[in-house]
Amino acid sequence: MLSFHSITDSIDSWLNHTFSPTVALLLECTIVAIAAIALFATLGLVLVLMERKVAAFMQIRMGPNRVGPKGMFQSLADTIKLVMKEGLTPDGADKFLFNLAPFIVMIVAMLLLAPIGFASGFQIWDINIGVLYISAISSISVIGILMAGWASNNKYSLLGAMRSGAQIVSYELSAGLSILSIVVLSGSLQLSDIVGAQSNGWWIFKGHIPVIISFVIFIIAVTAETNRAPFDLAEAESELTAGFHTEYSGMKFALIFLAEYINIFIVCAIGATLFFGGWMPLHIGNWQSFNHIMDYIPSSLWFFGKTFFLIFVIMWFRWTFPRLRIDQLLQLEWKYLLPISMVNLLLVTVMAIMGWYF
């Protein structure tokens, strides 16, 4: 069976046989970098097209259907357009920070790729504090947004950045707490361990209602953290035209835009890993034959399938709900999500200690 694990292993052993260890390491680094960049580019193209198609079908229209078969190359054409656009920097802007901001958001998005297990045994860095690493790195993205908003010297951008600051830091808490409930159940911070703990069933099934609650909280919190509607107050185009990236154009805009979509992918990938067992195939109790068939589906397909399902849910939110107001947004977090997730964490703890899960 073709799997990423064997491919990476064979590449690794071939490199180490052919070259000296230093060169092999360098070459591996290059391969990883190229793979990451390729993943970024592909994901950007696919997710933008997916978003537009999902939006279109929900809005009883066709969506992009001119460029390529069924409009498949629409986002490629858009990318080419964005490359051809002039990237302006406003006169009054803090030029250094203004140009730095897209790099920051891109670096954050890229760093978050490291601990994600894309397939069985296919992970860039299986860090033993994976969950902590993710919470830590994802907090940095707010700095990029604040930087972009403040440096633009534009009032809309400033307001958007400020909103986004208050919003992201608030939702960080309940996202963290809901992730913790899985950590409690799995007893490890390492993502591969968490996936391994779900080999006999995903946490969302094994964990009863408390895990479902923490999953709902997680989805709401990450929707808010990635500035997606209904929490897109940082952009809020009917209020602040385009929020923190009002002044960005051309390639710099494209980078911010891309990073946003990559962030969605990453949080959905983490959600899939924590709650849906990552690359683990679906196994149902003692149905041996069913479980065997499921095993034949490659693990990477499982992972991407789950992730894209979560992405679809987040898109579904966007094209259904109106936007919240800033005070309601924070009220939702501080009045509902945070107390609930605290209590929920205790419930999960009791469940974990008593062993009340399958």
Binding site: A55, M58, Q59, I60, R61, K155, Y156, L158, L159, R163, A229, P230, D232, L233, A236, E237, S238, E239, L240, T241, W319, T320, F321, P322, R323, L324, R325, I326, D327, Q328
Partner: protein, 371 residues
Amino acid sequence: MIEEIGTTAEGDLVINIGPQHPATHGVLHLVVTLNGETIKKIEPHLGYIHRSIEKMCESLSYRQFIYVTSRMDYLSSHINNHACAMCVEKGLQIEVPPRAQVIRVLMDELTRIASHELWWGAMAMDLGAFTPFFHAFRERETINDIMEETCGARLTMNYMVPGGVMADLHPNFQKRVKDFIALYKSKISEYDELVTGNIIFQGRMKDVGFLSKEDAISYGCTGPIARGSGVSCDIRKLYPYEVYGQVEFDEVLETRCDSFGRYLIRLREMQQSIRIIEQLIDNIPGGDFQAKTKAVLKLPKGEFYARAETARGELGVYIISEGGTTPYRIKFRSPGFSNLSALDHMARGGKIGDLVATMGTLDLVIPDIDR
């Protein structure tokens, strides 16, 4: 905090919202003074689309000037034309044939539904929900198609002439309108599912943009805005024109006084319009669709004032005639202009998000304000 509202102090942010802004639905320019997110003052700047229609009309004949008024409130262009035609008829003392009266009322109500549909979609879009906009256009397109078939145009129909309507109804008209009513009734529950019942939407709309009954009268608000504050001001009920006196419908009133009240008013008004259409569609009397008029119309010396209930409120047409073929002075009392004056009062103390919600319920059409 509250006592600071209305003053400008250090640390306040002055932001221009409009003329090129997604929430203003046109070229309205608001200068907003903010403290953090809280609005302290709003100053509307108008005139970006001012064409001085009143001056233009002074050089147009009584047949010609009607078409210009379609360009004021283009979403209820038919009702604008109606008010103008009624004013001319008042001056000439023309009796409009019953068939024409019914046709006019049918078209008015279709226009009102189309206008409210667009508003419903745009309102949801202001609050960040894009999908309802497209769903609203599905119904609106059907009305536009009906209009196109009978009147010859989709938006600026110019179907009215002094004394009646320009052409008879299209043979398909009755059937298509009935189809539309069936379509509308099958989709009405979706409006509640998608928008009205949504908790986020209600949270955004409730207790936002408060306008008390006294303020609504003092600011000269009409239409759904005043009715949302409990002011009875439906011209169709108070001063019935054409066949409005003979059909059964309710004047929708709400006493919530907030954005959500105004939102509900418009939703229910659409249903009242459907009710009017249902009563009339099978009872269109025969006869002429136009009264006999002279080729060149001359209004007698005097002043004439006619009003009609557009989708936005009371439209008044005030003609001063010196006996010639053109009006000496014409004044359009447009609903949007008065409604806009209340915006500052309604939005003060709220957030930027509230401003958008309030402005959405005002249903501003900028050419109507600028004229």
